[in-house]
Symmetry: C2
Subunit: 361 residues, 2 copies
């Protein structure tokens, strides 16, 4: 099995905006073209298309094409742990920065500095009179602020602003700081930023994290009382299940931990990603989406039920779902977007829910 077969989740890529035709092209590419080169070349093509569009006054299409380019650069690099990784990352950052002002609504870059480390945050504000609720979106192990465009759009369509950034071990912050146990500090820095913006409602800021970001979201919600809602989308509470990880995922943990061996990586992430000590502190509505076929074992749900205060819990267990339930199409994403709307925009008080749980009940 080639690395791309191990890691490639077509459902995820398509839902995040990668073109089906480009994925078919990647799968069927000539042998002499590498995976990395295929996607990087495609990123160049999309960028050239976009430049032509800008020259013709077609900004909307240009933005769309630059997002496609950025996603190509993302998927070029994410399988590798050599110089290709940073090359693809840098290209993705560059392409997204070019796309940002052309998006509808545009993504505005705020250049924060946290503990002396530059931390760009992109904020998108929906149309209509504000102030608006906001959703802070957290990337995962090999995902970054540039990838949540489609999910952002669902949130924006429902009248909420979005904010994305890279934390320790991710994207632009990776060179300054490896994966660490204090991600919530950076989430809080974004809350600081948002509460300072007139267009944002200070009492209606949520956090939504996917995969590893779902771990960060839980810890951020537990440690940051200003957060009004939390979604852990395919997240986890701890890394007790390390042995179940695929070889490539273990290698990814090692890479973002900046250590030499898998054993060092195991120890580092095990300590950094422990949240069980803080989960009982959660005081905001908390949405847990878990797929039974996720490599994160079902025991995570037990942990959540044990530790997250029941009155705040909205638990959804999908019996057919894979990691992050990407294989279920748009429906889980609509569910999360509508839940955020209910909590942040409509201000509904939701009763605790357990959908699909117990799984045989």
């Amino acid at each position: 099995m080639k690395p791309e077969d191990e890691m490639l989740n077509w459902g995820r890529l398509i839902l995040d905006g990668v073109s089906y035709s480009d994925m078919v092209g990647a799968r069927d590419r000539p042998k002499e073209i590498t995976w990395f080169d295929y996607w990087m070349n495609l990123a160049n093509e999309y960028e050239q298309d976009a430049e032509r569009k800008v020259a013709l006054g077609h900004d909307l299409s240009a933005g769309e094409l630059l997002m496609s380019a950025a996603l190509c650069a993302q998927y070029a690099q994410f399988l590798w742990f050599d110089e290709r990784r940073q090359k693809g990352q840098a290209r993705k950052v560059e392409l997204y920065q070019k796309a940002a002002p052309l998006l509808s609504p545009p993504a505005e870059r705020h250049d924060l500095v946290v503990d002396g480390i530059p931390m760009p945050v992109y904020v998108r504000i929906p149309e209509g009179p504000g102030p608006h609720p906001a959703v802070i979106m957290l990337g995962g192990l090999e995902s970054t602020k540039e990838e949540s465009f489609q999910m952002e759009n669902l949130v924006l369509d429902r009248g909420m602003a979005t904010a994305t950034f890279d934390g320790p071990g991710q994207g632009e912050m990776f060179e300054h700081k490896r994966l660490a146990g204090d991600y919530e500090k950076y989430t809080s820095a974004v809350v600081d930023l948002l509460t300072g913006l007139e267009t944002i409602r200070n009492d209606a800021i949520a956090v939504l994290g996917r995969s590893l970001g779902g771990n960060y979201a839980l810890k951020s919600a537990a440690c940051e009382p200003r957060l009004a809602a939390c979604i852990s989308w395919g997240g986890f509470s701890d890394l007790d299940y390390w042995d179940l990880e695929t070889p490539l995922t273990k290698e990814s943990w090692r890479y973002v931990s900046k250590v030499g061996t898998l054993e060092e990586a195991r120890q580092h992430v095990h300590a950094a990603l422990e949240t069980r000590d803080v989960l009982p502190q959660i005081t905001c509505p908390t949405y847990i989406l878990h797929g039974v076929h996720d490599e994160v074992p079902l025991s995570f749900v037990d942990t959540v039920l044990d530790l997250v205060p029941k009155q705040h819990l909205h638990l959804v267990v999908e019996k057919d779902g894979d990691h992050c339930c990407h294989n279920l199409g748009i429906r889980p994403r609509l569910e999360m977007a509508d839940w955020l709307y209910d909590v942040l925009v409509a201000g509904k008080t939701l009763t605790p829910t357990m959908k699909g749980w117990p799984i045989n009940g």
Copy 2:
């Protein structure tokens, strides 16, 4: 080869909004579930989801889910020529009618009667102060007004209204009138409707037709002087190439012609779909999109170059394109949407273009 393998174009389905996960589910479905039942069941599921969403005040998601349901019903029926066909068609019509008011912007139904035949037209108006240009969208051999949602959105995003309907042999009109050589009459009835709406600019109404609709678009533009622009998206000028059609497509021609034999069908559609006699009458900017790998032979491009007045021509020949260039992803759609913007919104006078032609030049 199963019928679905012959007809199924994954690129088309995904770009029109079918979920990738649903397509995988169709491909991998248990043997005892038929193609028809798979999609019709899924339509029911999406509808139930949508009803739940409406009850919760989540109209945006409900509209999205009902569009998914309508597309499922479309792809359930389009391979069959027995009672399944009308069953799926009727279901699609019903689901779309339910979706229409929930879409953003909504689709408003106008119940026209043309020559005593009921002809519903759905109009979607973009946000912002009008009056707006409009694009009339024509379905094809087995496609109807319910299927152009995604293309409509690209046009609406660029400040143009959309109008969709079924003509002879299509969707709701099929029971009253088989495929015929006077489709342009029905296009003109929609122009009548649009010119009577205050929100529409009478001098900026275009027609866009896909596949067989691309043939209808050409004839409509030739015969209706009020049309300000025309796009023939994977269309054709005539059916001289009948022998190249697949068995299933020939059967489809027979079905919509309401005749008993393929030879009768050949004769009927050959006469009905001839446009060469009127192409020289075209007086508006006309965009021809053709893929070299289309089953419609490249000689169509020669015909266009011979007969459509050169000063109105915007010819795009994609050397890697299949029928309607569905395999090229979103790019051809963005090109068409931006061209419509240039002609109708920006009022640009475009110079005649020949992109990708001559193919070896």
